[in-house]
């Protein structure tokens, strides 16, 4: 099964009724050995929206995020039950093209993870591997991705210096640019601001907000204020019976103003978690 690559002519929308979910988890559980990281999660990710996954540490948010592009495959003894569909196709089918899936559903880690090479090579190598053989085309994509994350002016003079010489916030924006250059449809962000200082964190947050409508964004965050500022949809995770559970999800305004579940209410009010 091949996923078609994302095309920029796609109509963007954040209308939950009008479009089918891009990603959809149904009855999804994940186990590390015998221990369940999360159980029975049903969640639709709507196209063009920013979905925030909130909840305390250890409730399976990050594991859930990584299961959406099958990065959990890399962890030995990790087992998945249930299904995830991407544009209607089950991503756990044996015939799934993992490369295309991960290109379509990019993931940014909590800790900025530039590869130990130059800034240029960090962007250039993945593009080359994804079949962009024309050097000029790669350069153009690199520049536009770096402009998207407002990093171009800061690094254009030193594209050949090591990516690790950038500050934490710059590294994180570089990682986001690296994913954007591949033109994904969905961007998964795993607490992208938590390892950064407040100023860098603000820059990355603004960047995520700017991605709305151009990309579908799923962001794990501990920061409720941040979720309130940027999210269209919110999904609240909590640990129950030693496993993460999805307690409640829905439009951000509903979750923040009038949650249905007592746990959600307590968490949002800052009483628990």
């Amino acid at each position: 099964m091949k996923f078609e690559t994302y095309s920029s002519s796609r109509e963007s929308c954040c209308d939950r009724e009008a479009c089918a979910p891009v990603l959809s988890a149904s009855d999804l559980s994940l186990f590390y050995g015998r221990k369940a990281a999360f159980r029975g999660v049903n969640l639709d990710i709507h196209e063009g929206c920013i979905t925030a996954l909130v909840g305390p540490s250890g409730c399976g948010k990050s594991s859930f995020l990584q299961s959406l592009n099958r990065l959990t495959d890399l962890i030995p003894a990790c087992r998945i039950e249930g299904t995830v569909t991407c544009c209607g196709k089950d991503i756990h089918e044996p015939a799934t093209d993992l490369i295309a899936l991960r290109r379509r559903v990019g993931l940014i880690f909590q800790k900025p993870s530039p590869l130990p090479f130059s800034i240029r090579r960090n962007l250039d190598f993945p593009l080359r591997e994804h079949g962009f053989t024309d050097r000029g085309e790669r350069e153009a994509k690199m520049e536009s991705a770096l402009r998207d994350v407002c990093l171009w002016d800061e690094v254009k003079e030193r594209l050949d210096s090591p990516a690790t010489s950038l500050s934490g916030g710059q590294q994180q924006r570089l990682c986001i640019a690296r994913a954007l250059a591949l033109e994904p449809q969905v961007l998964l962000l795993d607490e992208p601001c938590s390892a950064l200082d407040p100023i860098s964190s603000g820059a990355v947050e603004d960047l995520i907000a700017d991605l709305r409508n151009r990309f579908t964004v799923v962001v794990v965050t501990h920061n409720l204020a941040q979720a309130r500022r940027i999210a269209d949809d919110v999904a609240f995770f909590w640990v129950k019976e030693n496993a993460g559970r999805l307690i409640e999800h829905g439009p951000a305004e509903a979750i923040f103003s009038d949650p249905e579940n007592e746990l959600t209410r307590a968490y949002i009010a800052g009483l628990r978690g």
Binding site: I99, G106, S113, P126
Partner: protein, 289 residues
């Protein structure tokens, strides 16, 4: 640093450091001192320009050309490293990124076992099995090729284990972020993991080179020991190490001193290799956090 236990430990550690460093220094000083008569009577140039290697007790009576043996050592070493490097690095990549856990563990044990086999066993196997095989193909059998093959088996584990260890040290994030970008396993290995592990892999290669150039017994048993610059891989050669081992029993006077010169050359080569390793580590440690 206040307790007497700490002070004792400090002195014990200082003492061990002085002993270890001192012994190395003394060995080199001894080598130099024992070589001095040869340099006094022969000079340096004759070791490379004499007509042949027919040493005698007095410098005037013999010829002392070490060049063919230096060439022999370098050829045997280069050949072994050329064969063992791709195999060893390949084995490490297989263990780290492709083999299932149980297979990788078993494979690692096997490589460690290979490292533990004494060199005389390699030499004996080479003499009994490998040399006759090469002899059938292209006589005489005892040859540069035989030495290269035996030696490559012997240094393979060094390369494999050091490469494996240096790849294991790489942070998981490299692999995760590479695969999250939709890179294939092979692209991840080739474009990310191998370059990131390169300083370690290179260190392994150089240490293996040092081991290869210093290996004596196994090489001596299969290389034929004829002093000549070989024109093909099937011709016998003699290495610097084998030269010392073969002649030390009866060498005297300037002959004996020139064997020490042989040892000095070997030591210089190994010191140069260690120096290169240092350089590499210093150069790359600044690059990778």
């Amino acid at each position: 640093m206040d307790s007497s236990g700490d002070r004792w430990l400090l002195w014990v550690l200082r003492g061990s450091a002085v002993i270890a460093g001192g012994v190395t220094l003394l060995v080199i000083l001894f080598l130099v001192a024992a070589s001095v008569p040869a340099f006094q009577h022969l000079g340096v140039v004759r070791f490379f320009t004499d007509a042949s290697w027919h040493p005698a007790e007095y410098a005037a009576e013999g010829t002392f050309n070490l060049w063919p043996m230096l060439v022999g050592s370098l050829l045997v070493t280069a050949g072994a490293v050329l064969i063992a490097a791709p195999l060893g690095v390949g084995a490490a990549v297989f263990c780290q990124y492709y083999a299932p856990g149980a297979v990788a563990a078993t494979y690692r044990r096997a490589i460690e076992l290979l490292a533990g086999i004494p060199s005389v066993v390699f030499g004996f196997w080479g003499l009994i099995v490998l040399v006759p095989m090469i002899n059938q193909w292209h006589p005489p059998g005892q040859s540069l090729l035989a030495a290269v093959l035996i030696l490559s088996l012997m240094i393979l584990p060094t390369i494999a284990m050091i490469s494996d260890a240096s790849m294991a040290q790489l942070p998981d994030e490299y692999r995760f972020s590479a695969e999250a970008l939709g890179l294939t396993r092979w692209a991840t290995v080739r474009g990310v993991m191998l370059p990131a592990a390169a300083p370690g892999v290179l260190t392994g290669l150089i240490l293996a080179t040092g081991r290869a150039i210093g290996e004596t017994l196994a090489v001596l048993m299969v290389c034929g020991n004829i002093v000549q610059i070989p024109t093909s891989a099937f011709e016998p050669v003699r290495t610097l190490t084998a030269n010392i081992a073969l002649e030390m029993a009866y060498a005297a006077g300037d002959h004996r001193a020139s064997l020490f010169v042989t040892g000095l050359i070997l030591t210089f080569i190994v010191v140069a290799l260690v120096f290169i390793v240092e350089k590499i580590n210093r150069r790359f440690s600044s690059l990778i956090p």
